[in-house]
Amino acid sequence: MTKTNFTKEHFVKSVLTIFALSSLLFLFLIFIFILFEGLPLFHKIGLKNIILGFKWAPTKGSFGIFPMIVSSFLVTFGALVVGAPMGLSCAIYLSEYSGKKMKMFLKPALELLAGIPSVVYGFLGVVYIVPFVRNYFGGSGFSLLSASIILGVMILPTIISISFDAITSVPRTYREGSFAMGATKWQTVYKVVIPSAKSGILASFILGMGRAIGETMAVIMVAGNALKIPTSILDPLRTLTSNIALELAYATGDHRLGLFSTGVVLLVIIMILNYIANFGMKKKVMK
């Protein structure tokens, strides 16, 4: 009896291990595949000409993606400007001010926000935000501003849930100590809770950035996809992800390799962001 139990346990454990490792294998395969397809062009055209090149005309031999790197960061920064204050306020409200009932309602609602497909965000952006920007701010409406607004809303769930976790993990004694000193609720939140949860909140912003920089569909639909670096928030722009998705279908030869190189650059950026976010989280845990 004990023997069969042991083999059964053993079997389940090994199956689970295999599945766990296979997810790692996928990551590894994706890595290898992107590098394998993307690196030859770096070798052929030169790292500098790709990363710092200003001209993207892959059918004519120019593979500069510098404007797209800048645009990706601009959009991400714009999304943070829109999403970070809103997300942080929401997280503070949820953990410090809202009653139990409100929390029971808000939490699932926010999870729903995270579940809305990005194409729906993009569609709403095209139908409402783009004409709004065109009519009230000028330009074509397909712009940095529209993309930032849409992405700002899209990164809200990430920012809220991670900052919420960071804020609630601040020990109760900190708050009680502050109240005992005669501080008001807001003074406690502002001077005690937020500073103690700082690294977790920053990590939520960085993970939000990762989400924004990787978003494709909604951005293609509202950003206008022009190749130039935007000079105002009303100019259209193209991000790294949009570049791949836009041209994928028609690309052959070096053009296709160029898109993979775009993928390599994107992968490196995301890796750096995730590393920074993890680093921030770890510091929080150690505290």
Binding site: K55, W56, A57, P58, T59, P67, V119, V126, P131, R134, G138, G139, S140, G141, F142, M217, I220, M221, G224, N225, A226, L227, K228, D235, P236, R238, A245, L246, E247, L248, A249, Y250, A251, T252, H255
Partner: protein, 270 residues
């Protein structure tokens, strides 16, 4: 956007097809003859219509029409995963091993929003707009407002034809908006009063207005009289000579009935 979805279905169907058939061309499903066609999103809507007509009279046939883009269609044809590829551009070096058949011609039309009072531009003005030299509608005799020009993405068949036929040696300016299908270009022009773009003539509808170029309007009459010169061929490509089943379909496309449907849809027959 639609192209990515198209590409996805293309891959999916490739897997499905290759898993359930032993002979890859002119597949027979039970008693039905299935032909898979994929490629240019400019050609696709017309071929869908034609295929419906074709299948009504011939219940023995099943035609799958998918998008994906000219290049995707050509590649799939080279790999023999589909029977017919659709292309809205000429074959490049290396693709010429394929057998190509011109099925009809299509005009490229420059379009604006219906509220735009401009009815006509010169070829030089159009080149100026898309090369970024003319940026304001004032320079063309309308209000003081930036021009929202829209082009197609690099590698698109329609963009390739526009570059060959209209831009000639000039390059399309980097600051111009880019969209990835005729449909989304038309959608933007239909909603933005200050937009200008180019699409396939067959897809121009009453939500946008097509402009005359150098005094010649983009009409079928003018194209047939060879006055409107911005015309490109739509191609079918097959890997090697088509088999009997595929040939039946191609014969229908080239027949008077098939060509009449193209004409009704705003294309130009061969």
């Amino acid at each position: 956007m639609s192209k990515i979805i198209g590409l996805f279905f293309l891959i999916l169907s490739t897997i499905l097809l290759s898993s359930c058939n032993d002979n890859s061309t002119g597949v027979t499903h039970g008693k039905k003859h299935t032909i898979t066609i994929a490629g240019s999103t400019s050609v696709m809507p017309f071929i869908e219509k034609l295929s419906e007509h074709f299948m009504v009279d011939r219940p023995m046939f099943r035609i799958n029409v998918q998008g994906g883009g000219s290049t995707a269609g050509i590649m799939a044809c080279l790999n023999k995963t589909i029977e017919i590829g659709m292309s809205s551009r000429q074959l490049k070096q290396g693709e010429k091993v394929l057998n190509s058949i011109t099925i009809c011609y299509d005009g490229i039309s420059v379009i604006v929003h219906p509220e735009n009072p401009i009815r006509e531009l010169t070829l030089k003005q159009i080149r100026g707009i898309f090369s970024g030299k003319i940026k304001n509608w004032k320079e063309l005799g309308w209000i003081d407002r930036k021009i929202d020009a829209i082009t197609r993405e690099e590698g698109s068949g329609t963009r390739g034809s526009f570059e060959d036929l209209i831009m000639k040696s000039e390059e399309i300016y980097d600051g111009i908006m880019v969209q990835d299908s005729n449909g989304s270009v038309r959608e933007i022009v239909a909603t933005d009063p200050y937009a200008i773009a180019y699409i396939s003539l067959g897809l121009v509808d009453d939500r946008v207005r097509s402009l005359s170029i150098d005094g010649v309007s983009a009409s079928l009459v003018n194209i047939r009289a060879k006055k409107y010169k911005f015309v490109r061929p739509f191609l079918f490509v097959t890997n090697g000579p088509p088999n009997k089943i595929v040939q039946t379909y191609i014969d229908f496309i080239l027949s008077v009935d098939g060509q009449n449907i193209f004409k009704k849809e705003g294309l130009i027959g061969i």
